[in-house]
């Protein structure tokens, strides 16, 4: 097990390094004109533009810039934003914004799992019945209609109907409800449809038929065997989903005016904020890789059929 963990750690470090170097180099290919607006070109001459670029640190050669970035990361200094929030330390920005995305994300994930899994079980148990029909209808609506439409309608109607604030306010807990529910809606559908599918798959397997033939009650088969086995593939994604809640939701944070991380990376790329992009890519890459790794460990823990450090050194 230890050797497996060490091997995965090594692979993860190489993956993160490749991601970071690729992103770093791609950012250096962006045209410098992106740092100037139309008005800047009118106001500034060549020397002022060059001086401005130098003040941002983007005129140094890429090797110097990379050493500065990597050295800073090692020392815990992630640099300062250069164009989205000029001069603000990147770590301060992340510390300010991440908790909003994290807490909303975790609450939504809890709701998604609670309701989604329950719905999935009911749909599988009553396949082609009323729960399945309504569950499928819900999943189809959520996935087929562009989310912007129903998110917006929920915001308009529910806030108007109940007299709730339209946007998020930290000191008004009632304003936290709709963004959380809105965030959970797709998650509920995702858990429901996949759990249903895996449970139906399991139900058709021989061991279930055998257990039924032995006279084991259906409820017990469903709970002890079908549900447990159907959860295995879903559990694999759980750690990643938890960790990446930090990335936030561009759409929901925007319409509810939540100052989270959603849209930060997109903004940073658009404004060529190299230190911010690099830090976010590093953060998301590390969290993504850790999430996959933890998912594998979790899967091995709940499913005795899976051995991570077997004879072939991989999953069996």
């Amino acid at each position: 097990m230890l050797s497996y963990i060490l091997k995965r750690l090594g692979q993860s470090l190489i993956t993160v390094a490749i991601v970071i170097i690729t992103v770093f180099l791609l950012l250096r290919l962006m045209p410098k004109s992106g740092y100037f607006t139309r008005e800047d070109y009118v106001n500034m001459d060549e020397s002022a533009r060059t001086a401005y670029l130098r003040s941002l640190g983007v005129m140094d050669d890429p090797v110097t810039q990379f050493v500065r970035f990597a050295g800073g990361v090692v020392r815990g200094n992630w640099g300062r934003s250069i164009s989205v929030y000029p001069k603000s330390p990147v770590m301060t920005i992340i510390k300010e914004k991440a908790p909003y995305s994290l807490w909303f994300g975790l609450a939504a994930l809890a709701i998604s799992m609670g309701l989604g899994l329950t719905m999935g079980v009911l749909m599988a148990r009553h396949k082609d019945g009323i729960f399945d029909t309504f569950g499928t209808l819900y999943v189809t609506i959520v996935r087929a209609i562009p989310s912007l439409i129903w998110l917006f309608l929920i915001q308009q109607w529910v806030t108007g109907w109940l007299g709730w604030p339209m946007v998020f306010y930290e000191d008004r807990p009632v304003s936290w409800i709709l963004p959380t529910i809105s965030l959970a809606l797709t998650g509920i559908a995702w858990y429901a449809i996949w759990l249903r599918r895996f449970m139906v798959d399991e139900e058709n397997k021989d061991y279930v038929k055998f257990a039924t033939a032995k006279g084991i009650p259906r409820t017990r088969i469903m709970r002890k065997h079908v549900l447990r086995n159907a959860l295995v593939p879903l559990i694999q994604y759980f750690p990643q989903q938890v960790l990446l809640t930090i990335a936030g939701s561009l759409l929901i944070e925007s319409i509810y005016s939540i100052p989270g991380m959603g849209g930060l990376l997109v903004n940073a790329i658009r404004q060529q904020d190299n230190p911010l992009v690099q830090a976010l890519v590093l953060l998301y890459a590390v969290l993504g890789i850790v999430g996959v790794f933890l998912g594998d460990l979790l899967m091995a823990a709940v499913d005795p059929r899976i051995k991570l450090a077997g004879a072939q050194g991989g999953q069996e």
Partner: protein, 625 residues
């Protein structure tokens, strides 16, 4: 005469009525987060709004747009307008983010220090334009020396030694309460620069203590303005509270300003309708949607800005067909009379498209001579301004026929143009055959309105002059019209807009001369250049304006660009009593909330129109000398 007094009295009565229900809180929204609280760097309106309300400069603009004392209680200029001396108010303290008095007093050194900060290239203050660097004695040399040092070109001096040369720059504290600016050339309109963020003060000891962290949070700032930042949450909200130690505290009617970041205009409108906001700007679609509702009577059109939109044509185009035509005055005149501005403006304002047309490059209500006369009222430009939508189909077709006669051989071949391929990839690629129809490329930004305008522009010209004679190719850039089209010269015609920088016609005309900063068409007219140069030499404003107005009339007559629409002038719903707060066409003090009255109920459009009428009467009386 009696009627006028009646209107003024009515306006004052309405103001008084509004004041009865006056609110001491103002709630508004912003769509884009400011870059930082570092008030010398204000690339967008949110930054400017915060800077204007939390910091005071030497002068500010009042509700009539006049320059009035702010932290300077008086000033004097040398007869040649080159030396400007400002005398500060005494005992005005800097306050912190709790609104409490600090140990620092606002002194002349703070203004010198502010400019020292702005002039150091390491601080990345983009707005320090080359024109301002050349305006203040010694500033350009000081700045360029530091630039050269940072680039490694100066090795025999230390950076500190070069920073010491700031003593040679024409910004000086003569004593604790006197600051003096020495300018390189006569600048009678210098006060209009002082309403920019570049001329704000900063406390040196405090600045040194916070270093690189200056302005990254409210705690890393001191405040000299009408408000201090009591709460700031990135991408969420900004709360300003009235500064209890402000030198002009009695003028601050609204005690708390709460600004929230709301990106979607639909949410802003809903919040206003639910009573959660004091004002909301409306899109054209929202105005249409409100028609017939109980809110229809509350919609009014706010005042225009000094931003002017114009169509730019490329006089050095790599498309030889267009180049041949655009350098023909009759062709340009054909376009001048052929563009139906009101029709084009219907896309932005379906109700009063003619109300926001502007035919001149210098806006009205932006530059006044020593007698208080608006530059826009000088006869040469007034005639152009009063013409309104000068669309004239018959004239346009007549000029086009003349152009065809001059530019083609009469059989459809454009003189001197050989078949060629115009490679403007990724925007456009054209096969040129040197024959009619004339092919021209219209470049536009993405977005529903700009796209519709491009199609309308094409249809307008092709219908008017015939598809056999002209064919407009539409080419869309991704998001940066300058980097993608203007700089690489990939356009025949494009739509652009420019703001007006300071209170002198040279702010626009001075940068439209040959090789001027906004001469994107690369036209050259020695006669126009000469007039602009001649006007710039005059130190008496009325003499300057007279020559500038001649230059602008010539410029418009020769159709180098086609100015056509004002910026601003958006439809609004608001509880803010208009014209109670500072006004101006440039700089940041126009964004002050000082003096603003917020009434309990939304304004009605009737109330707005009455207040507007009364205000203009009052302003004309107040500004006439």
């Amino acid at each position: 005469m009696k009627r006028r007094y009646l209107i003024v009295a009515l306006g004052l009565a309405l103001c008084a009525l509004a004041a009865v229900g006056a609110q001491d809180r103002y709630y508004a929204t912003y769509t884009a987060e400011g870059s930082s609280l570092r008030y010398f760097y204000t690339p967008d309106t949110t930054d400017q709004r915060i800077a204007a309300n939390t910091q005071d400069g030497l002068v500010e603009q009042d509700r009539f747009g006049r320059f009035v004392p702010s932290l300077a209680e008086r000033w004097e200029a040398s007869p040649d307008s080159k030396v400007w001396t400002f005398y500060l108010r005494k005992d005005v303290p800097w306050v912190d983010s709790k609104g409490q008095k600090t140990k620092y007093e606002i002194t002349a050194d703070d203004f010198v220090e502010g400019f020292r900060y702005v002039a150091d290239p390491k601080n990345g203050i983009k707005n320090l334009s080359k024109d301002i660097r050349r305006m203040i004695v010694g500033l350009n040399d000081y700045y360029l020396d530091l630039v050269d040092f940072d680039a490694g070109k100066i090795k025999d001096k230390t950076r500190d030694q070069l920073l010491g040369n700031f003593a040679k720059v024409g910004v000086k504290a003569l004593d604790k309460y006197t600051v003096q600016y020495t300018l390189a050339r006569p600048t009678p309109y210098f006060l209009s620069f002082l309403v920019m963020e570049l001329f704000l003060p900063v406390e040196k000891e405090f600045l040194d203590s916070v270093g690189e962290n200056f302005g990254i949070s409210k705690e890393n700032l001191l405040f000299s303005g009408a408000y201090y930042i009591s709460d700031w949450q990135r991408d969420k909200q900004i709360v300003l509270k009235a500064n209890p130690l402000y030198w002009d505290a009695k003028s601050v009617t609204v005690k708390t300003v709460s600004l929230q970041k709301i990106v979607d205009p639909t949410i802003t409108l809903q919040m206003f309708q639910r009573g959660e906001l004091s004002s909301a700007t409306l899109t054209a679609e929202q105005v249409k949607a409100l028609a017939g509702t109980k809110w229809a009577d509350n919609v009014f059109m706010a005042e225009p800005s000094t931003v002017t939109y114009w169509f730019v044509q490329n006089f050095t185009s790599a498309n030889p067909e267009f180049k041949a035509f655009v350098n023909n005055l009759n062709f340009r005149k054909a376009l001048y009379y052929g563009l139906d501005r009101a029709k084009l403006n219907e896309l932005d304002d379906p109700y009063q498209p003619a109300a926001t047309l502007r035919n001149t490059v210098v806006p009205e209500q932006a530059a006044f001579d020593e007698k208080g006369k608006d530059y826009a009222d000088y006869p040469e430009v007034k005639a152009i301004r009063d013409a309104g939508n000068y669309y004239d189909k018959a004239k346009a077709q007549d000029y086009f026929r003349k152009a065809l006669a001059e530019v083609t051989d009469g059989k459809g071949t454009i003189k001197g143009v050989q078949p060629a391929t115009v490679d403007w990839k990724p925007i456009a690629e054209l096969k040129i055959d040197g024959k009619l129809p004339l092919q021209m490329v219209y470049v536009y930004l993405p977005g529903a309105t700009e796209t519709k305008r491009a199609f309308l522009f094409k249809a307008m010209l092709e219908d008017l002059f015939g598809k056999d004679n002209i064919q407009v190719t539409l080419a869309q850039v991704i998001d940066d019209i300058f980097a993608e089209a203007v700089e690489p010269r990939r356009f025949d015609m494009l739509h652009d807009n420019f703001r007006f920088g300071f209170a002198d016609p040279s702010a626009q005309l001075g940068r439209l001369v040959t090789k001027g900063a906004v001469n994107d068409g690369e036209f050259s007219d020695p006669e126009f250049d000469k007039l602009v140069d001649e006007a710039s030499q005059k130190t008496v404003l009325s003499e300057r304006f007279k020559i500038f107005s001649k230059a602008e009339a010539l410029f418009i007559d020769r159709c180098y660009v086609y100015p056509w629409r004002m910026g601003g002038a958006s439809y609004m719903l608001s509880k803010v009593v208009p014209f109670t707060y500072p006004r101006g066409g440039f700089g940041i003090t126009r964004f002050k909330y000082k003096g603003m009255i917020v009434q309990k109920d939304p304004l009605t459009s009737k109330q707005y129109e009455e207040l507007k009428k009364a205000f203009y009467e009052e302003m004309n009386k107040a500004t006439a000398k």
